[in-house]
Symmetry: C2
Subunit: 270 residues, 2 copies
């Protein structure tokens, strides 16, 4: 394998296609960076599985991206970031960045930020990663985290405004509304598609923090820091590898990437 | 490996722990049969994945059970049965039985059975396996199948009587109620836990067919046919292997098996 250079693509992985919300933000902010994306759709979801299994999958996903010659890796999955980021950073030599730290930064940029709610998969919430990182930076903040395992299935079913979803969200948000949160962290890359209904349920006074956008600006800073900013202009490509390619996965890819996608390629991982 | 004999255990696999509803029925009907169960909890769900991936997983699961020395294999997963049963039966020499045919038998035993609704995962419904098998046996029956991808997440979340589930079910059942079904096939081993709420929503006039019980009696007949009925009395064991062992999986195992379980063992498959 050749040495890392700035014109190699960025690698991005997620348990499925939710991480394409991060790719969408990267394309906007860093249009000259080519991207190789891996969605582990054969083993999705990660959020309900054990820490050991999540770490094993994240290692395998990163190895796959490295065989595609990426210069850096973005872990566009909150669950994998929460459980595996330190292990990945210790194991591999390329820069590796996750979605949690950018999310925490975005929370702390808010003017009024005293009571913070966090929603995410069981794996993400159980890891206490958001709670821990917020407490380290701002011990005065009160946090309350709620595992919301039904939200990914609702998003994947495309029921983004269904009464059944509304009732499920009301149940999940009840303790957060009771503690009068001023900020809600959407701790899963699937959740940006729920922004409209969350806005309706929570009103304008609660700031909704989605880590996709801040993650992209962190990636830009990381590339500059390591001298890895692409010197090419134009023709940046996006290659999407999925471990399970199905019609359904293609539909969801379009929904999350927000445009017609190029070719989707099959991958074998693990 | 030694030749197959009647005192070897039965192998049962599912994408997760839903198939334990079949194990529960087997324990009741065939208490002298030892069972080795494999739940592929690391890659659950199968229902939303593509036929090729489902077939690959089913092959790997069966191979795992064969290394444990089973005399026959029960595919306790509707999705895997729908897509992979013929392939498994062609590939392996031990008898292999699925959950679909017993389900279809149970439907046809009903006195009044003209309009049959089927609910299941996207994979099961898309396979048209139930629709096809019913049409072959009774061309006069009208069937209507609905993919119900949110039901497994609801069952796994333990929200078995939540208003949000009720609304989702009302949405899914609407076309079936409209066509005045007399029978509903619960085409997924997770769904027996929804029997109480389905009974409430559909009333007494609709017969609910759950394949777990009929599957167990088919397994009994298969063992007799192949001279594989256990000659031992008492001390039959249940070994449960999971590809992802977590607290959550252990909780679900208890819920589905309906008793305190013995040791849960980790397995590596694929």
């Amino acid at each position: 394998m050749t040495a890392t250079n700035e014109n190699m693509p960025l690698g991005v992985f997620d348990s499925g296609v939710g991480g394409l919300t991060v790719v969408r933000a990267l394309r906007k902010l860093l249009p000259d960076e080519s991207i190789v994306y891996l969605g582990d759709t054969a083993r999705i979801p990660y959020g309900s599985k054990s820490p050991d299994t999540i770490r094993q999958f994240a290692m395998e996903d990163t190895q796959f991206l490295l065989t595609k010659g990426v210069k850096a890796v973005v872990v566009a999955c909150n669950t994998a970031t929460a459980h595996a980021l330190p292990l990945l950073q210790e194991t591999f030599r390329v820069p590796i960045i996750g979605v949690l730290e950018p999310g925490v930064e975005a929370v702390l940029k808010g003017k009024n930020c005293c009571r913070v709610g966090i929603i995410g998969t069981e794996g993400t919430i159980r890891s206490h990663a958001y709670q821990h990182m917020l407490a380290m930076r701002r011990p005065d903040i009160r946090t309350h985290a709620v595992a919301t395992p039904l939200l990914v299935p609702f998003v994947e079913a495309g029921w983004l405004n269904h009464a059944s979803l509304r009732l499920a969200l009301e149940e999940y948000l009840k303790p957060l509304i009771k503690m009068e949160i001023d900020t809600l962290v959407l701790g899963c890359t699937h959740y940006p598609l729920l922004l409209p209904i969350l806005r309706k349920l929570l009103g304008k006074s609660v700031r909704l923090v989605d880590s996709a956008t801040t993650c992209a600006s962190h990636v830009g800073a990381m590339l500059r820091e390591h001298g890895l900013v692409s010197t090419r202009r134009g023709n940046a490509s996006v290659e999407i590898y999925l471990t399970d390619v199905s019609e359904r996965a293609e539909e969801l890819t379009k929904r999350f990437l927000g445009v017609e996608t190029g070719k989707i390629l099959p991958a074998r991982v693990g």
